[in-house]
């Protein structure tokens, strides 16, 4: 009896006695302290040099002649036209792609049919096609010397070197964003909730708006956010299809290039600063979504 109570006591006494000593040793699942510090320092310095320095440069260069000069460059007629054009294009391309993304994710996750895997690959295609190649494809399809393009130009609706072409190019590039966020999430959620709604007598539309949409809303917002950031910042594809006509088909990124090549540094970097602020807001919202709704964004941390 005495022995039985005695031995656990020595055990706990032992662990207590060894505790101060144990903290001097590192855990078996950690790297040595010097290694951790060195690796952290190296990685942070590299990140600062590669990523944070360009970010800071944008604002430094934009404001190098003071805030009034920067603001004045934004008041330029061509600059204003570029901002309007970029907003217009995003306003058309993003909702269309959001709509498509939901439709595609729906078709891919709630039904099973042949060729599903093929479509899944196709949706990702714009990610791996160079933006310049994407632009070229649209020029070939709708350009003045193609069959469709020739007819469109003749009837007064040119697509290439005009706004519709820029919208198409932007849609091509930003096609995958929404669907890619939704597909993993909707696969995980399955169809049981929709089936329950249907058996309870809900109509198709009612089922979608009261069951499916609430389930995917945060992931949808996340995808739309990324889609919008890319749509407003797209350069390569737009550079090819737009013709870069100042005040007409020059979007904000194109205007940055035009200003920069004219050595109008303040104007270029101020325009860049506006887009950078947009990128920062996007990142902020994206991070906030990731922190708050991590469980409802199965695809968080993926692109």
């Amino acid at each position: 009896m005495a022995d039985a109570t005695f031995s656990p006591m020595t055990d706990s006494a032992l662990t207590l006695a060894s505790r101060p000593r144990a903290t001097r040793f590192r855990k078996a699942t950690e790297e040595p302290r010097w290694f951790r510090w060195t690796l952290t320092a190296v990685v942070l310095v590299l990140l600062a040099v590669l990523v944070l320095a360009p970010l800071a440069t944008v604002f430094v260069e934009a404001l190098v002649k003071g805030i009034p000069a920067a603001l004045e460059s934004l008041g330029d007629e061509d600059a204003l036209a570029a901002i309007r054009l970029t907003l217009t294009i995003a306003a058309v391309a993003v909702p269309l792609n959001a709509l498509f993304g939901v439709a595609a994710a729906w078709a891919l996750t709630k039904y099973s049919w042949r060729g599903k895997a093929f479509l899944l690959t196709l949706i990702d295609l714009p990610f791996s096609v160079s933006p310049v190649v994407a632009g070229l494809c649209i020029v070939l399809l709708f350009g003045a010397n193609s069959a469709i393009g020739g007819w469109l130009v003749a009837t007064g609706h040119p697509i290439v070197f005009a706004v519709p072409g820029i919208v198409l190019a932007t849609m091509f590039i930003t096609f995958p964003f929404v669907a890619r966020e939704l597909v993993p999430l909707m696969t995980e959620q399955g169809t049981s909730e929709e089936e329950a709604a249907l058996t309870l007598g809900a109509s198709g539309a009612r089922m979608f708006f009261t069951v499916t949409l609430p389930n995917i809303k945060w992931a949808l917002l996340y995808g739309v956010l990324l889609c919008n950031a890319r749509a407003m910042g797209e350069f390569g594809a737009v550079a090819v299809v737009s013709g870069k006509i100042r005040g007409e088909t020059a979007t904000m990124p194109i205007m940055i290039e035009i200003f920069y090549n004219q050595y109008a540094s303040v104007a270029a970097f101020t325009m860049a600063g506006v887009l950078t602020l947009l990128a920062l807001v996007t990142l902020g919202l994206k991070t906030a979504l990731e922190w708050r709704y991590a469980d409802q964004l199965s695809a968080s941390g993926r692109h």
């Binding site: 790297e31 990140l47 196709l122 160079s130 310049v132 399809l141 910042g233 920062l280 991070t287 941390g301």
Partner: protein
């Protein structure tokens, strides 16, 4: 689905149709010309170098972000996505300004080592590392998060040193994700245009990337030439896409066996 075909498939179909009209012999002649070959080779080589760098850097960064604690870690974590969110043209002019021979980082390197960064191939590497970084980090990071501590503990109790554990236990677990990240960064870098053209200098045979050459051919109304380069790049993209899918299939099999 009609929208998909209208927006994505139709344009690509137009490219393939045009290529078929031109014929393989003509296409091959363009791709084989010295300037085009040099541009394709440069695009691929620079993308490969940048992706290799990102493979190591991305792994280190993801490891630090998951395993080590330091002030401002969450902020750094968010900053990793910056190259993804920042428009490429913005990144291009900003990187050029910094790394130009009179820039904040370009000048000291020029003075001390006599090496030009911007307007050389090194500049292209820098731009491509920038755009590829989020892909490399974000594919590995979730996998590191999911590693169970017990596995490492088991390895340690069996007498493995930390280095052995990292090399023989952790690294194999991360390998599929690392390869996927590498392939994604590579695919992105091969086709990259906006961030590169400002910093590259764009000298034919030296710092002229393939996408830029497409744009140049288009501006010269040399549609045949542009189509030929685009076909070559499309073939590279398809190969890359296939590679990524194969890695994913392989890793799924690997994890189900393990």
């Amino acid at each position: 689905m009609t929208l998909l075909s209208l927006v994505v498939l139709l344009p690509i179909g137009a490219l393939l149709l045009r290529a078929a009209e031109i014929g393989p012999a003509e296409l091959w002649a363009t791709i084989g010309s010295k300037r085009v070959l040099a541009a394709l080779l440069l695009s691929f080589r620079a993308a490969l170098i940048a992706a290799l760098f990102n493979l190591v850097f991305g792994l280190a960064l993801a490891w630090v972000l998951v395993r080590y604690d330091f002030p401002g870690r969450k902020l750094v974590d968010a900053a990793v996505d910056l190259p993804f969110a920042l428009p490429t043209a913005v990144a291009g002019i900003a990187l050029t300004t910094i790394y130009a021979p009179n820039g904040v980082f370009g000048a000291p390197v020029m003075d001390w080592f006599g090496v030009r960064l911007a307007y050389t191939e090194i500049g292209i590497w820098i731009a491509l590392v920038f755009v590829g970084l989020p892909f490399a980090v974000r594919t590995v990071q979730p996998v590191i998060q999911e590693i169970e501590k017990e596995v490492e503990e088991a390895s340690a109790t069996l007498g493995a040193s930390r280095v052995t554990t990292l090399r023989r236990v952790i690294l194999p677990m991360l390998l599929p994700a690392l390869l996927t990240g590498f392939a994604l960064a590579l695919a992105r870098a091969v086709g990259e245009y906006g961030s590169v053209i400002f910093i590259a200098g764009n000298l034919p045979f030296q710092t002229e990337i393939a996408p830029l050459l497409i744009v140049i051919k288009l501006e010269e109304f040399d549609y045949e030439g542009a189509v030929a380069i685009a076909i070559a790049m499309l073939a590279i993209s398809f190969a890359m896409l296939l590679l990524i899918n194969l890695i994913q299939v392989w890793s799924r099999r690997y994890s189900s066996e393990g």
